[in-house]
């Protein structure tokens, strides 16, 4: 599957592992419940690449203490109208200082990618059937923004010059 990463289209080398399934070789993304249930085993293989998927309604606090173990945190948008993951992303970047990949999954559409990018997402699994090339244009929708967020430390009034 192709995804957007750091504003480029790349082949995804991470595998999503279902909760009951055996752990494959390589880079894997597991659910929060699996992480909680198999914490020690998963830590044992984190060098080969470990990521976690949070559902909407699972919060940044739930993984705050464990963040060092994850290269990828994936946050789900069950519908693009469900904006909880924006706050989760903002907290992970702004408060918990997460430096790894923050990936948007689920109902990820071009028209929300600009906002997702602003709060700290840097990887996007664009919804199946939608043009990923088209989605790439979303990063340039706005060149000026009023608020500080993960992408910009200062509000516009300190940048007006």
């Amino acid at each position: 599957m192709r995804i957007i990463k750091q504003r480029e289209i790349v082949e995804d080398d991470w595998q999503r592992v279902e909760d009951g399934a055996a752990l494959p070789e390589g880079k894997i993304i597991v659910s929060l419940s699996r992480w909680k249930a198999e914490r020690e085993a998963l830590i044992g293989r984190r060098n080969s690449g470990l990521g976690i998927q949070l559902a909407a309604g699972e919060h940044a606090d739930d993984i705050a203490a464990d963040l060092d173990n994850f290269e990828v945190v994936a946050l789900s948008f069950p519908s693009f109208r469900d904006g909880r993951a924006y706050t989760t992303a903002r907290l992970l970047r702004g408060h918990y200082g997460f430096k790894g990949e923050l990936r948007a999954t689920g109902d990820v559409l071009r028209d929300q990618i600009f906002f997702m990018h602003r709060v700290g997402f840097d990887a996007f699994e664009v919804k199946e059937g939608r043009s990923i090339e088209d989605a790439l244009k979303a990063f340039d929708d706005f060149k000026v923004t009023y608020q500080p967020s993960a992408d910009e430390g200062q509000p516009l009034w300190r940048r007006r010059g």
Binding site: F80, D82, T87, F115, P148, R160
Partner: protein
């Protein structure tokens, strides 16, 4: 008023280019209607019963004459020669074509206007006291802070897909003219014990199907924390507000379910993370904003005017208009004039293209070229020299906007109702018009004093019926339009929610029912007592007995 610089212009141009692209993708079928809907709503575009309706933002109700002329031009070019001023101080057009939207938005941008966030589950147009900056009872002008909040909330990346819409109001006055207790969040400028001016913060108010009076979450925050504190409120709401049921998704339900103490604790906990401290306002930014709203160069004038005093004695119609539609200005020799959009035979809040052009001219001639809109669906000229009131009154009469009924029984707030709105159960406008026709004896209406009657065509309560001293709610009874009456609501400092009087009335019976309510008030009233005070003194029973006596 606020003037855009190159950055504000660029943001608006980029937004309009983005929306033009979205419209094109929709017209080509690349976006489904389901996907396009929230995108168009975020730009104020609704699909109504007959056509698209566009809601244009009038930030905190402040307009220049040039902007009003452009709104008039748009009514003529893109719509059917009229616009409708709303309870959020905005304007709506009812007959918009989707394919013309991008050009319309560019016409708006020419006068620094837009339709950004006038709908959708985001932070909506911020509203404030229509007399901000000129009121005698004001501690400080709230408009600079309203503009600071407008910029912060515009395309906020974290808070554009909230559980539900979010409405903010501000006031700097002693008397609440902005219905602050019925907002998701509200700020009131107050002075603390140390003599410092800051904000009291209120959260969790609202109307809709679960009307709730807002609660004070902070007695005082310093001005510099306006945005950083707002972010923490929004962050808790965005993270934890309910999304399982659209009718339980407003912040009022979260505050109610958690309790104000626990909600406050969660907001404080987020605030202590210091995530948003770069939004703390320095004095220089507050001063920069204040400069945009600095008082104009008022002339040194005497307080009274002999000709006005004489006309007040000689002309009863002038006196009645002056009593209801003219308000004292903070500067001697000036007056505030409310232009009534509640004449007979017109939908409350409607103005024609010609009226808008003419009112824009009057604002240039009499009021330094600015205007205000009010949530009660009228317009205001804020800076009229008192000596010129008689000639202005004549001009307003010619335009049909001098009805002397402001804040009386027939200054009715009404939503568009089933004549336009796809959500409505019943029509609002004809009921308002029939009431205005029925109570057309100005002496009688004036004698009743201050009285707020509000009409909503459905439980979403866009017509603020819960906050009316008398509220009328349209309901559907087996396919027929019926009207439920509530009594005892108030939108002001004594904020309260109206209580249902009894069974609903048919279309034919609603006006007679209101007549009987008024009869009871007249019979039971103490001298000069307001309707709301009378109701609170005597309770629901006398009204109920009289109204349902024959049933």
């Amino acid at each position: 008023m606020y003037q855009y610089d190159k950055f504000d212009h660029q943001i608006l141009a980029e937004r309009n280019a983005q929306f033009r692209g979205q419209v094109e993708r929709r017209l080509r079928g690349e976006l489904t209607e389901e996907e396009f809907r929230p995108l168009r709503l975020m730009n104020g575009l609704y699909l109504q019963l007959h056509a698209y309706m566009l809601r244009v933002a009038i930030p905190y109700g402040v307009l220049s004459s040039a902007q009003l002329r452009q709104l008039a031009m748009i009514a003529r070019k893109y719509d059917r020669d009229y616009g409708h001023f709303t309870t959020r101080q905005n304007i709506q057009y009812n007959w918009i074509k989707l394919e013309e939207m991008p050009d319309l938005l560019e016409d708006l941008a020419k006068v620094e206007m837009h339709a950004i966030q006038t709908s959708g589950n985001c932070i909506r147009n911020i509203s404030t006291d229509q007399f901000a900056g000129v009121a005698r009872d004001e501690l400080e002008d709230p408009r600079p802070y309203a503009e600071i909040l407008r910029q912060w909330s515009t395309f906020h990346p974290e808070f554009s897909y909230l559980p539900r819409k979010f409405k903010i109001a501000l006031t700097g006055a002693e008397r609440d003219r902005a219905a602050i207790y019925f907002h998701d969040m509200a700020y009131r400028l107050v002075k603390n014990d140390a003599g410092e001016i800051g904000f009291q913060v209120i959260v969790g108010g609202g109307m809709g199907r679960t009307p709730i009076v807002g609660k004070v979450i902070k007695d005082f925050i310093p001005k510099r924390h306006l945005l950083s504190y707002s972010e923490s409120v929004m962050r808790v709401y965005n993270g934890y507000g309910r999304r399982d049921n659209i009718y339980k998704a407003r912040i009022k339900i979260l505050v109610q379910e958690l309790g104000i103490e626990e909600f406050r604790r969660q907001v404080d906990a987020d605030y202590e993370l210091n995530m948003s401290r770069s939004l703390d306002l320095e004095d220089s930014e507050i001063e920069r904003m204040k400069a945009f709203f600095a008082p104009p160069a008022y002339r040194a004038l005497p307080e009274g005017d002999a000709a006005v005093t004489a006309l007040l004695a000689d002309s009863k119609p002038f006196r009645m208009w002056h009593d209801r539609n003219v308000t004292a200005h903070k500067v001697p020799g000036y007056s505030i004039v409310t232009i009534s959009l509640k004449p007979k035979g017109v939908a409350p809040g409607d103005a024609t293209t010609d009226q808008m052009y003419a009112i824009a001219d009057l604002s240039d001639e009499y009021s330094l070229g600015t205007l205000r809109t009010t949530y009660k669906q009228n317009l205001v000229l804020t800076d009229v020299e008192t000596s010129r009131l008689p000639e202005l009154w004549e001009r307003l009469k010619t335009l049909g906007v001098a009805t002397a009924t402001v804040d009386t029984l027939t200054d009715i707030i009404a939503c568009p109702g089933l004549d336009y709105c796809s959500l409505a159960n019943a029509r609002s406008i004809p009921v308002a018009q029939r009431l205005i026709d029925r109570f057309d004896d100005l002496d009688f209406v004036h004698d009743l004093g201050e009285l707020r009657l509000n009409i909503s065509g459905c439980i979403n309560a866009c017509g603020h019926h819960h906050a009316g001293n008398i509220g009328i709610l349209g309901v559907d009874k087996k396919g027929e339009e019926f009207y439920q009456v509530t009594l005892g609501g108030s939108p002001e400092d004594d904020a309260s929610i109206g209580k249902i009087m009894g069974p609903a009335f048919s279309e034919d019976d609603i006006v007679p029912a209101i007549e009987k309510v008024i009869e009871v008030f007249v019979a039971k009233r103490e001298p000069d007592e307001r309707f709301i005070d009378c109701y609170r003194r005597i309770g629901m029973e006398p009204f109920k007995e009289r109204v349902y006596a024959d049933h």
